[in-house]
């Protein structure tokens, strides 16, 4: 399997902001890579370089062996892009939007029409096909934008936070469409802030922070990196956190970690530890609302690696 996307040491500076500080990764043909990172990590900037919208200060990016800067025209023929914000023409109807894109790809006339129909159907927009996009909901716009990125049957697809702002049902439906595309052989680079999304869709995950890839691997590999199973306890009252922590420390399995979620965690040796912890807490007269063993989640990975919680991109704030 050869690499469909290769990114080497990309650097991009906007004024004083170093948006990319040496991003490198590669993506074998037919696989899915999830770029995971907090706000301002450089995900969108990376995608824009690959989609030929932005020239990097240094480093290289290539798609199917074509250089994203020097062979931009050829790259544009083989890629599809759905940016972070739906880029659809509000004054045209959904149908007109897709036909416009089809014509600009120089598809034969009959194919322009059939492709637009098929995509509207696939994204459940047939009913709204002849309404101007101004009247669409946010989720409908997103779906239309995604449809527009597929008009050309791209071999390599870039999706920048494709499900941000969608309700759970639409998100699930979109995941299914994306899984279909991948089954048909599309190579996909996906950025997301939803760890669950990366876990479900991506073969490999690259965690990006401060313009660099700080960890890369399968979801399991990343979880192993953080450590084995942990025993997690959530004090019923936050005031008890210190006393609960000292009870857990007395189990002598390792250091007690306080998670940003309010939970306390210690490395777990086996299921017997849960019973032992329960006894110790009861003896000390402490209430916990949750107690159990847990594989580290991608949340734990994210927290451990980046030192902060994944935030929804709806929240417009700076990287801590």
């Amino acid at each position: 399997m050869s690499d469909a996307v290769v990114v080497e040491e990309l650097v991009k500076t906007f004024g004083k902001t170093k948006a990319l500080d040496g991003v490198s990764f590669s993506l074998p043909e037919g696989t899915v890579l999830g770029l995971l990172g907090p706000n301002g990590a450089g995900k969108t900037t990376t995608v824009r370089v690959l989609a030929t919208l932005l020239a990097p200060d240094s480093g290289r990016a290539s798609v199917l062996g074509l250089d994203a800067v020097k062979q931009a025209e050829q790259v544009r023929r083989v890629i599809g892009l759905a940016g972070q914000y739906a880029a659809v023409d509000e004054k045209l109807t959904g149908m007109e939007n897709l036909r416009l894109v089809g014509r600009l790809y120089h598809l034969p006339k009959a194919e322009v029409l059939s492709r637009a129909d098929a995509l509207l159907e696939r994204f459940e927009l047939t009913q709204a096909a002849n309404r101007v996009v101004k009247t669409y909901s946010g989720g409908m716009r997103r779906r239309l934008d995604l449809a527009a990125s597929l008009v050309n049957r791209p071999k390599v697809l870039f999706l920048d936070e494709p499900t941000t702002g969608l309700d759970p049902r639409s998100r699930l439906a979109l995941w299914e469409v994306i899984e279909d595309l991948v089954r048909d052989g599309t190579t996909l680079l996906l950025t997301t802030q939803y760890l669950e999304e990366a876990d479900r869709l991506a073969d490999r995950i690259a965690v990006v922070d401060g313009g660099r890839v700080i960890a890369e691997g399968t979801s399991d590999e990343l979880k192993d990196k953080v450590g084995g199973s942990v025993l997690v306890a959530r004090p019923s009252s936050p005031d008890d956190a210190d006393t609960v922590a000292s009870v857990l420390a007395a189990l002598k399995t390792g250091e007690v970690k306080r998670l940003a979620t309010g939970e306390l965690a210690v490395p777990a040796t086996g299921i017997a530890l849960v019973a032992k912890a329960a006894r110790a807490l009861t003896t000390a007269g402490l209430e916990v609302s949750e107690l159990g063993l847990r594989r580290p989640t991608l949340d734990d990975v994210f927290l451990t690696l980046t030192g902060h919680l994944a935030e929804s991109s709806d929240v417009e704030d700076e990287t801590p």
Binding site: E73, V88, L92
Partner: protein
């Protein structure tokens, strides 16, 4: 215009085709916003009525009637004002991410700008036609049909050149509201301080000097001479066409350059 960049394997044919497709899109926008067409004609119609009936009697326009004088100025000012929507539209495409979508497609880079200005040219012809009908209704009597057609053609060409200035402004400010204001403010003094509505002789010397130095005065004079046989045509027409050509060359260059930078 600047050289059309060609698409490998597609060539000039695709560049032309892409431009036409995008011109069609710009025109469709116009039909989807009839209020835009109404606003770009209501204001000049008001001006026609105001100047024709309120100021008309007080203005000495020599051998021709004031309506026949005024309409040339109205044509030119109307297209100048109408050209501002080119920049507003581009700023909107930029802020809504449409430009990004278009730039990710394998189309020639100049098609996005050329398509929009071409679509706007067609719209401008429509607006001038409406104003010609309004003019005739209030007493405009062009000397010949050919002259009227020539006047419409020159006005539309003038508006086309100005839509490239507007395109450049839109690409520079990148924001719809700002593009709207920045596109308009300079057009007021430019079009009023000219021979559009009153003969230059009635203005103070310094203002006459300014009015003569802008593209608006020669264009108004040339359009007026086409509507009215007997007025000198050749000199203002040559100056006007030189202006139009100059503006097209300079501002298509500047626009394409800033379009490339707005990544």
């Amino acid at each position: 215009m600047t050289a059309l960049d060609t698409v490998p394997g597609g060539g000039l044919r695709y560049a032309v085709q892409d431009t036409l497709v995008l011109a069609g899109r710009a025109l469709r926008h116009t039909t989807r916003q009839p209020e835009l067409l109404v606003f770009s004609t209501v204001q000049p119609v008001l001006f026609v009525l105001l100047f024709r009936y309120v100021f008309g009697g007080a203005i000495n326009t020599g051998p021709i009637s004031y309506v026949n004088y005024l309409m040339a100025g109205i044509f030119v000012q109307t297209t100048a004002f109408a050209s501002t929507s080119t920049g507003v539209g581009l700023a909107e495409d930029l802020s809504k991410g449409i430009v990004d979508r278009l730039r990710s497609l394998p189309i020639s880079r100049s098609a996005v700008l050329a398509g929009r200005t071409l679509g706007d040219l067609v719209r401008m012809v429509g607006v001038v036609l409406i104003m010609a009908v309004v003019g005739v209704a209030v007493g405009l009597r062009p000397s010949s049909t050919l002259g009227l057609l020539g006047a419409i053609a020159l006005t539309a060409l003038f508006g086309f050149a100005f839509s490239w200035i507007s395109a450049w402004i839109g690409l520079m400010v990148k924001d719809v509201e700002t593009a709207n204001v920045a596109g308009f403010v300079w057009l007021f003094p430019l079009t009023f301080a000219s021979s559009a509505f009153v003969p230059l002789q009635s203005m103070p010397g310094w203002l006459q000097a300014f009015a003569k130095a802008t593209p608006v005065t020669p264009t108004c004079d040339a359009v007026r001479a086409m509507l009215n046989d007997g007025l000198p045509l050749q000199r203002p027409l040559l100056i006007s066409l030189s202006w139009i050509l100059g503006v097209l060359v300079v501002f298509s260059y500047l626009s394409v350059r800033s379009y490339r930078k707005v990544a």
